[in-house]
């Protein structure tokens, strides 16, 4: 049974990746989870400098989901390389680093530092954080901006380059296309949906930032649709995410067109979810006599229901 999948030049031992922003720097989970058992670990977004993020409250629960506005708190790329990357390497993790920037130059500089470090396996470009003005969303919501930042980073790194796309646009597939045109090796989608929760007693937003990004099972069908649309448009691999909580959900994304999947919010609910999803994928492959999981990618049966 072959669970491996290919993202550009990078082979993942299985299609399951811990989503950025939901798994710290990975090392937080190392006592509980065998990091080498995951297809990859996408670590929390990094700028050049440290950032403290937004004040609490930063999350609020919603029906089958949650809203967050963390504000990209982080230790900065240099501390990550010095303090976290060695342990991730020692633990055998496949390391995907989520790169943030306030300018094209910052994205390129962070990516260059990571390319020079030992042990980074891929770069995920965060051009889609909805929660800070300078968090890349100005790049991710403009086709020209997406092209510019992906092109600039492409020039400084040979690592697999994966722009992470926002769903807060009318036609996400055109952003996948812009990414492909600019030299991306894959795209990941979706980041969170910009959303709002109010306290009707006080009439105040429930999180300090006012608005935040919606994740969790509530968004899954929309995310599946967007992955499906992108699969019709681009040739590069797609990493799909949005509300996956079990093997069925992961398989749904893959059938819709995702070569690999990321799990975020569900890791908060169950930090041991990884083995359970992988077991479920293996059981499905056995049941359907699938030898290679990559063979199910983009295999939606479009025939009309009879």
């Amino acid at each position: 049974m072959d669970l491996s999948v290919q993202i550009g030049s990078l082979t993942l031992k299985n299609p399951l990746i811990a989503a950025s922003g939901c798994f710290g720097y990975g090392v937080e989970y190392a006592d509980l989870v065998d990091l080498s058992s995951l297809g990859g670990v996408a670590v929390k977004g990094l700028f050049l400098a440290e950032r403290e993020g937004h004040p609490a409250p930063r999350i609020v629960e919603t029906p089958a989901g949650m809203l967050n506005a963390i504000g990209l708190q982080g230790i900065g790329v240099r501390r990550f390389v010095d303090e976290k990357l060695p342990e991730l390497r020692a633990r055998g993790a496949t390391v995907i680093v989520n790169v943030c920037g306030t300018t094209v130059e910052e994205y390129a500089e962070v990516s260059r530092i990571l390319s020079d470090a030992e042990g980074v396996d891929a770069i995920e470009l965060n051009i889609s954080c909805p929660n800070i003005k300078e968090g890349g969303i100005q790049f991710g919501c403009s086709l020209a901006g997406t092209h510019n930042v992906v092109s600039a980073v492409r020039k400084v790194t040979r690592l697999p380059l994966i722009p992470k796309l926002t769903p807060n646009v009318t036609d996400v597939a055109s952003f996948a296309q812009a990414s492909e045109d600019a030299g991306a090796d894959a795209v990941s989608l979706v980041n969170t949906f910009l959303a709002m929760v109010l306290d009707v007693e006080t009439r105040r937003p429930k999180i300090s930032n006012g608005m935040g990004g919606l994740s969790g099972p509530a968004i899954r069908p929309i995310a599946v649709r967007m992955v499906y649309e992108c699969r019709q448009t681009v040739k590069i691999p797609i990493i799909g995410m949005g509300g996956i909580v079990d093997a069925r959900d992961a398989l749904e994304f893959m059938i819709a067109g995702a070569t690999a999947v990321q799990v975020g919010t569900a890791n908060f609910v169950d930090p041991l979810i990884w083995g359970k999803i992988l077991d479920g994928i293996r059981a499905y492959m056995e049941r359907h006599q699938i030898a290679k999981i990559a063979d199910i990618v983009g295999t939606v049966n479009d025939h009309a229901h009879s």
Partner: protein, 270 residues
């Protein structure tokens, strides 16, 4: 090291219309939990509510031969998750991850321990009182609640030799008012030389007032903070507390990892 268990509910005792004590079969967590640590809990497998909730370990229960085999949680019903906690029945399964976080630093005699609890903030002090008792530390519990019928486990603490100072907002038991009032009065009556460690858990306003009072009388104070927490593991960065770091600068610190027990004088309360 934390473990995640599908813990069977072995008892669920209502203390009032809002409060309950939920007992979970969790030997590994019971055996390794230290006073002040917490667990991430969710009753049932529904996607709504989705997330687990953090709870201090309230009691560690033991089998007849003294082996720790279960923990209890003191819960107050305030929303859907805590309603599920309140309504859970023996045999139900609760996902339970722990023990998590940094525990209380426990003093030795002759230092006295003054525990300051507000409402459901009583939770971490049952195990702390037992640990202090084992070290023969003279211990006082300052315990404030809304009403007399929301002051729980008083005989438990008396049985450990803990001196009780009680307040209620309606004056139904103990002194009328807030718990920081008698705390400050007693601190003012002590000579500076006799060492006292303050431990506090409760509503944010009470914690801030306790921290301020502790600072005024130059007493060390450990507070167990409660924040909206997504994961309990350091993964989500939801539960941050603004603190003054060793470098003197402001940092957002994850209370699930650096806490929940934090040094009161390093928290930026305003």
């Amino acid at each position: 090291m934390p473990v995640d268990v599908a813990a069977e509910v072995i008892a669920n005792r209502p203390l009032s219309a809002d409060y309950n004590v939920l007992a979970l079969s969790a030997p590994a967590i019971a055996a390794s939990s230290q006073p002040g640590q917490f667990v991430m809990v969710k009753v049932g497998a529904s996607l709504d509510p989705l997330l687990r909730r953090p709870f201090s370990v309230f009691e560690v229960l033991r089998s007849s031969d003294g082996t720790p085999n279960a923990i209890t949680l003191l819960s107050k019903r305030i929303g859907p998750s805590t309603s599920l906690m309140y309504d859970a029945r023996p045999g139900d399964i609760a996902a339970c991850l722990g023990p998590l976080g940094r525990p209380f630093s426990i003093v030795d005699a002759p230092t006295e321990a003054w525990m300051v609890a507000g409402g459901v903030g009583l939770a971490p002090f049952a195990t702390l009182a037992e640990a202090l008792r084992a070290r023969n530390v003279k211990t006082t519990l300052f315990y404030g609640a809304r009403r007399a019928d929301e002051l729980f486990y008083l005989d438990f603490f008396r049985g450990l030799g803990v001196e009780l100072v009680l307040t209620t907002e309606d004056g139904g038991a103990g002194e009328r008012g807030r718990i920081v009032t008698p705390l400050e009065r007693q601190l003012a009556g002590r000579t500076a030389g006799a060492p006292i460690m303050l431990y506090a858990c409760g509503p944010e306003g009470m914690l801030a007032a306790t921290a301020k009072t502790a600072a005024k009388y130059s007493r060390p104070c450990q507070v167990s903070v409660e924040r909206i927490m997504g994961c309990g593991m350091g993964g989500c960065y939801s539960c941050v507390v603004p603190m003054r770091g060793d470098d003197g600068k402001f940092h957002h610190v994850r209370s699930c990892m650096a806490g929940p027990v934090l040094a009161a004088d390093q928290i930026l309360w305003d």
